[in-house]
Symmetry: C2
Subunit: 221 residues, 2 copies
DNA sequence: CTTCTCACAATCGTATACGATCTGTAAATT
DNA sequence: AATTTACAGATCGTATACGATTGTGAGAAG
């Protein structure tokens, strides 16, 4: 018996962290909601120490906010915050693509094309956002900059669900598909500037859609 | 008697966090060095709980690394990591400048010019890096994107000291001064593309200097 | 009926306590 | 002599305990 001891060393902290993060990103927890340490601890069958570590980590991610002597609350993402994050995403993804293109091999193009084909074939709206995510990951991954890819991934996880709430349903399949195809073609051609500006316009369009959605909601109040 | 109660609420955690962060960024703690929780706790006159919270926060910043059951160590920044961070800095600062220029007022130009004048007048090498930091902050601040500025600031704090170790002494005053002047002039002209590509070249030059320094060190081993 | 005061419950932030695991050293075995 | 085993000290990760602070509701004053 190996007795590999699958027991995670600092598992308690990490489990709480992941659970809270998942719930916050999924939107199950409303912004401003108080996160009582004792409750969370009991819920996960641990004590407060790992809970506080998890909350501190989430605080660093700006997912929760500590108020002195009043504990942690779920940080609500304002409209401005969301638009700011989209601007940052433009910066990060465009740079990544710029660095990625010179490194792309034929197999990268094929992989990206497969994702687009799957996209085309999928009637399921639920899958679109996942396929969109995979396409972006696919063309950016060759950049070889792990920290950059990690940053992009973090922002995607925070921005993605919020954007999906507003535009994915409305935007349809046609426009993103056309833009993705054009980006991939420019990558194939090694046309760095064309590809980057196509990607930039692609994300800027999303940003404008989000801004429009926000505008409409604010007007109709 | 106001009895404002200057006592910080969660001061213990924050003091430890800032002290450790300062030491790590300043390089007083070598990469790989073990950070013993009990020692740090005794040193700051607190218990382990705030220490662990501080370490978790530093872990999120990739400044320390937790090894299961073996505690935390100072994360050493590899040469590749440093070059990666400079690439990210290019992405972030160029985007910030692009967003900033349309928002710049005359007073912004004046402020930036003052920094450059101070630069010119300062014979003190120690001040150059600080003035360089202030110039960058100055022209990027009008972008109005708080999260972006915060990200840029984080990277500056991590990259700055490491870059300074290698290039500041060698590069002199003339080249940065010329590049800064040109960037500011393009900003004044509202020439966004010129300003951004000048800034990009400015940072890329730094990256090349760092890469050259690394190369030389590796060859002579 | 409204507003202020005050005590009590709830919660936070941190210290202390304790089992589990790791590391280093010295004896024991091959 | 080299490698393995055994044991002790150190350290980690977490649970429990406790003072401090803040919100809250009942009762008194206006």
């Amino acid at each position: 018996m190996p007795k590999v001891s699958t027991d995670d060393p600092s598992a308690a902290f990490f489990n709480v962290y992941q659970a809270l993060r998942k719930d916050i990103l999924a939107g199950s927890l409303e912004g401003g909601q108080a996160l009582r340490q004792d409750d969370i601890a009991r819920l996960h069958g641990v004590s407060k120490v790992p809970v506080r570590e998890a909350l501190r980590r989430l605080e660093m991610e700006s997912l929760v906010e500590f108020r002195p002597r009043r504990g942690a609350i779920v940080r609500s993402v304002s409209d401005d915050d969301l638009l700011e994050m989209l601007d940052i995403r433009i910066a990060l993804e465009c740079r990544a693509l710029e660095l990625a293109i010179p490194n792309m091999a034929e197999s990268d193009f094929e992989l990206a094309q497969e994702v687009l084909d799957e996209y085309q074939a999928s009637p399921d709206k639920e899958l679109w956002s996942e396929l969109n995510r995979r396409f972006h990951a696919c063309i950016l991954e060759p950049c070889g900059n792990r920290q950059l890819l990690s940053l992009i991934n973090d922002f995607e996880q925070r921005v993605g669900p919020l954007v999906r709430l507003r535009v994915t349903e409305a935007t349809g399949l046609e426009r993103p598909m056309r833009e993705h195809t054009q980006i991939l073609q420019s990558c194939r051609d090694g046309a760095v500037n064309d590809a980057v500006s196509a990607l930039r316009i692609h994300i800027e369009t999303t940003k404008r859609e989000v801004a429009a959605s926000i505008r409409r909601r604010n007007i109709s109040r």
